[in-house]
């Protein structure tokens, strides 16, 4: 009892866990709805992983090509996700992202412009028209800074009105949440610690928005920062929510593989959009050999046609380097396995021989600057060595598409951004994540606010739950016999990287599950040296348990799904299987153990499925679904004739 009464307590209406794009947008919305809002940031304010996004934010504004509209964007998104997307989320995303981007301008964002002064839009893999609003290649930084400054401006309003900047919206920087606290099936609060002091902190709040990002730190080669330990995924599971699509991880096709100072750092797809090509060790531009049938119509067959596309996209087909990410990643993997890779186990990405040094520096300033400074590599003079890098998790908390409210048996829990699942299906298109953050961040924040309004009584935090959370958090510090958390993390990364990586096999996945079970025993006994003040070893020891449970979800779901689709490639089941398109794999927690169930995908509304070509649908749908579609078209035709 003495330990829990001394804990710092705060009362809020909405607590947003995560201070990246989705978290900040959700917090802005909750504050605009008049709710007292807390933002929990694992790092300093404004350092979130969103800053790493380079390419841009996809929104069908039609500024560069007026033929673009939400229907085309919706189609591209569904196609990219191999039709496994939650159609309603893809629809909302395509419809609302232009407004969300324009809104950023009213917060002070400065996007690159077209000649007539509108927001410029660039080409990107999988998008039919130039669609990505961008700021050079630092769009993510612009987005996070803009939202950060909008929050400051709201705090300034509150300061004028109430005399305190923190009156209605407060940022708790360098604070980690370890546990969500429940009152029955309702969220009652969140428990965590200040990283700086190691002191505990308790938030009492009826509504919590998860916006914690992804899970990449469980992989050896990853572009993700230390924060990406799947905290939100694990918090949701433990609170009784469910995760979907956890088998789908996006491996960015072009992460640097050499030198080590930049290993895992992404080379933006705009390098390819601006003329960069992939070559193997024989100097061959190999992507022409890897155009899958479903895309054959849209992609060039000769180098000549592909090269013409950069200047005349209306009359030529796209270069195959701009295929969706999973296709490019798979192609690189095949080349490396066939012995045609670079010395460090990647392939060559060459823009130096195709564009002038001046042009490269102008179009890709931070890319140039980054490699020059970090690794002394001059991208205007030599090709880069690139390979697949763990980048993004499509899977996440299963949510209601409109409100972001988590499914499962918990109320008051919302999720937005990378931590939520469904929007991107089996594969995310580049540029869709930044707009996803804004669209669903706003929705989750707004719905969390109205949920808090609708409650008759505030849920109560139970004392024994807090005591248990304190005990769990302190346990690694009190043990001195367990293993070093860094060793455990390396072992976990090895299991996931080697056995649940980009190309998967049944035997390896089964093996991974055995090893993860062993790791679970070891992680339960982890010990951290040192005290509570800013002790990264202790922090990692606490994060490990989240990484482990999320890794188990991924491995289990990957073993279950016997097909290859998007971010999930099974060597033993190389084809896409229409039957599997109708199924989402749902993870939940039963005691300590991950339980996997199958759930049918929601059926697309007629006017949405009507946007597609029958020939295209033929590649994804089962025969019964196609018969339904034909009936639908026939009905519509009759209606037209009447």
């Amino acid at each position: 009892m003495t330990t829990t009464t001394r804990i710092e307590r705060h009362h809020y209406d909405v607590v947003v866990i995560g201070a990246g794009g989705a978290g900040l947008r959700a917090a802005i919305e909750a504050r605009l709805a008049g709710k007292k809002t807390a933002i929990i940031s694992k790092s300093l304010f404004g350092k979130a992983h969103t800053v790493m996004a380079e390419g841009g934010a996809a929104a069908a504004m039609g500024n560069v090509n007026s033929r673009d509209n939400w229907q085309v964007h919706f189609r591209d998104t569904m196609r990219g996700g191999k039709f496994l997307n939650n159609f309603r989320m893809a629809e909302l995303h395509a419809k609302e992202s232009p407004q969300r981007i324009w809104e950023l301008e009213t917060y002070g964002a400065l996007f690159d412009r077209t000649k007539d002064g509108k927001i410029s839009q660039r080409n990107f893999g999988g998008h039919e028209y130039p669609r990505l609003a961008h700021v050079g290649d630092r769009t993510g930084l612009e987005l996070i800074r803009t939202l950060q400054q909008k929050i400051v401006s709201l705090q300034q309003e509150d300061h004028r009105e109430f005399g305190s900047y923190d009156a209605r919206i407060k940022v708790f920087s360098e604070t980690t949440i370890t546990e969500l606290l429940l009152d029955g099936d309702r969220v009652a609060g969140a428990f965590g610690y200040y990283r700086e002091s190691g002191e505990f902190i308790l938030f009492e709040a009826p509504a919590v928005v998860l916006a914690t990002g992804g899970v990449g730190r469980s992989y050896k080669v990853t572009s993700n920062s230390w924060e990406y330990t799947g905290d939100g995924h694990a918090l949701a599971l433990r609170a009784g929510a469910t995760l979907i699509n956890m088998e789908f991880l996006q491996f960015h096709p072009t992460g640097m593989v050499w030198p080590p100072s930049v290993k895992g750092i992404l080379v933006t797809e705009s390098v390819r959009g601006d003329g960069g090509v992939l070559k193997n060790s024989d100097g061959k531009r190999f992507m022409f050999d890897y155009v899958p049938d479903v895309f054959r119509k849209q992609y060039a067959e000769t180098e000549e046609e592909a090269d013409r596309w950069y200047t005349d996209p209306d009359n030529n087909r796209r270069p195959p380097e701009l295929l969706p990410r999973d296709e490019v990643a798979r192609a690189i993997n095949s080349e490396v396995k066939a012995g045609r890779g670079s010395p460090a186990g990647g392939v060559f990405l060459d823009i130096a021989s195709r564009r002038s040094a001046d042009e490269i520096r102008r179009r890709l300033p931070s890319m140039y600057h980054q490699f020059k400074e970090l690794a002394d590599v001059d991208i205007t003079a030599e090709p880069m060595e690139v390979g697949p890098t763990c980048h993004y998790v499509m899977g996440g908390v299963e949510v209601d598409p409109d409100s972001g409210a988590a499914f499962g048996h918990v109320r008051g829990l919302f999720a937005a951004g990378e931590v939520s699942g469904g929007m991107h299906g089996s594969n995310r298109l580049g540029g869709n994540s930044l707009s996803d953050l804004l669209v669903f961040g706003k929705r989750a924040g707004g719905h969390a606010a109205s949920y808090a309004d609708g409650l008759a009584a505030r849920p109560k935090v139970a004392v024994d739950a807090v005591e248990a959370a304190v005990e769990t958090a302190l346990a690694p510090l009190q043990r001195d016999t367990g293993e070093n958390p860094y060793t455990l993390q390396q072992d976990l990364q090895a299991v996931m990287g080697d056995l649940v990586g980009i190309i998967r096999r049944e035997g390896e996945l089964a093996d991974a599950l055995v090893r993860l079970a062993e790791l679970r025993e070891r992680v339960a006994k982890v010990s951290a040296a040192g005290g509570r003040r800013y002790n990264p070893g202790w922090h990692l020891a606490l994060d490990l348990r989240n990484m482990l449970v999320v890794s188990e979800c991924t491995a289990k779901a990957a073993l279950e799904r016997q097909e290859s689709r998007g971010g999930h490639t099974r060597e033993d089941y190389p084809a896409m299987e229409p039957k599997w398109r109708q199924v989402n794999l749902v993870c939940s927690l039963e005691g300590d153990h991950v339980r996997l169930t199958r759930k049918p995908l929601p059926k697309m509304r007629p006017e949405l499925i009507g946007l597609f070509d029958r020939a295209e649908l033929g590649k994804y749908l089962t025969d019964e679904e196609l018969a339904d579609f034909d009936a639908l078209v026939a009905d519509a035709g009759e209606a037209d004739n009447r």
């Binding site: 800053v51 504004m61 400065l110 930084l141 400051v152 401006s153 300034q156 002394d376 005290g531 070893g537």
Partner: protein
């Protein structure tokens, strides 16, 4: 290709600490942050150090490496000699939390005090039209990754803790400059605000901030100097002054930005720190003595002051009562030109620093 290298890392907290020696493996192509991570995984699991992206994009791993403010992730090991000991210490300007982690909340407080973007009232979202050439000026400053190295190295705060109250630092001068140059920002007093509230006048353009900026933002040349120049333009341009007299416009622009901290600027102008920034016109003996001894960038530069105004916020004279038939000298009547060189706040860029 790996070798053992000597590292000295500051370990401790706000109560004190010291440099500790580590012998650590270093591989080809690594940066200082890689080595710190290796230490955490081996000899020093509780070594505190901030980092996020390890790609020079988030500005978290600011530290002082061999005394130079750097990002750990952007400092290649190949830049040191094979036998060179690498000394890593926390940022000196900010209070220590633990090891390499400092309390940078000063910067977030200053960020909150800087007025936010003011959207134009009559332009709907989606109707913003700007030319690329116009947004590029502000975009340069928006490249800032908030590593706070410029704040750390700025001697106005690095050596003078007491200045923290009145001085926002280079990061927030470029924020003000960015908004000032924003094609659609509705506020027109950014420069005056920077002068009156952010302490722009303290900056004596030593360019230390520009030198350490990992994003290579020309903080001084493109941000601070244009802000200073235009503040001077407005405050001392005789035509502007005369125009404001005749058309009764622009009543002492610095009065439009006040904070509780300084009370009413209309009255404070006359009473606040009566030292003029032009050394020639100053009667502060210390400033005079400093000026006599030549250019010394470490000296405390006197505070700039607003002209003495009456309670209506006007200069205490009118065209009728003034003793001359033309505009007064914008530099004050007691200054004659040319100024004696030792009174100038100027150092030739190529001249050797004597101090």
């Amino acid at each position: 290709m790996s070798a053992k290298r000597q590292f000295r890392i500051w370990r401790g907290d706000e109560t004190g600490g010291d440099l500790q020696d580590y012998l650590v493996e270093v591989n080809e192509g690594e940066v200082v942050l890689d080595v710190i991570h290796r230490l955490q995984a081996t000899d020093a699991p509780d070594l505190a150090c901030r980092w996020n992206c390890k790609a020079g994009k988030c500005g978290s791993c600011s530290m002082e490496i061999n005394g130079k403010p750097r990002l750990g992730c952007m400092t290649r090991m190949s830049t040191f000699g094979d036998e060179e000991t690498v000394t890593v210490t926390p940022l000196r300007t900010f209070p220590i939390i633990r090891d390499l982690v400092t309390d940078v909340s000063f910067n977030y407080e200053k960020a909150r005090e800087t007025p936010a973007f003011a959207p134009p009232a009559d332009v709907a979202p989606g109707d913003y039209r700007m030319q690329q050439v116009d947004v590029e000026r502000s975009q340069e400053f928006r490249k800032c990754i908030e590593c706070f190295l410029c704040q750390n190295v700025c001697h106005v705060i690095r050596d003078h803790e007491e200045n923290k109250q009145a001085f926002s630092g280079p990061r927030y001068f470029i924020r003000a400059a960015e908004l000032d140059m924003h094609p659609l920002d509705a506020r027109t007093d950014r420069k005056e605000y920077a002068q009156a509230e952010q302490g722009l006048g303290f900056c004596n353009i030593t360019k230390c901030c520009t030198e350490v900026c990992p994003e290579h933002i020309k903080i001084t040349d493109n941000g601070i100097i244009p802000m200073k120049e235009r503040v001077v333009d407005r405050r001392y341009d005789p035509l502007v002054w005369l125009g404001s007299k005749i058309f009764r416009r622009g009543e002492t622009p610095q009065t439009s930005v006040t904070t509780a901290r300084q009370g009413s600027a209309t009255s404070s102008g006359a009473t606040r720190r009566g030292v003029h920034s032009h050394a020639g016109g100053s009667h502060d003996p210390r400033a005079e003595a400093q000026a006599q001894s030549g250019v010394n960038w470490d000296r405390e530069v006197p505070h700039p002051t607003a002209p003495a105004v009456d309670d209506r916020g006007r200069l205490p004279l009118t065209e009728l009562t003034f003793d001359r038939a033309a505009a007064p000298s914008p530099f004050g009547d007691d200054v004659t030109f040319p100024l004696p060189p030792e009174h100038l706040n100027f150092a030739h860029p190529e001249q050797d620093d004597k101090h």
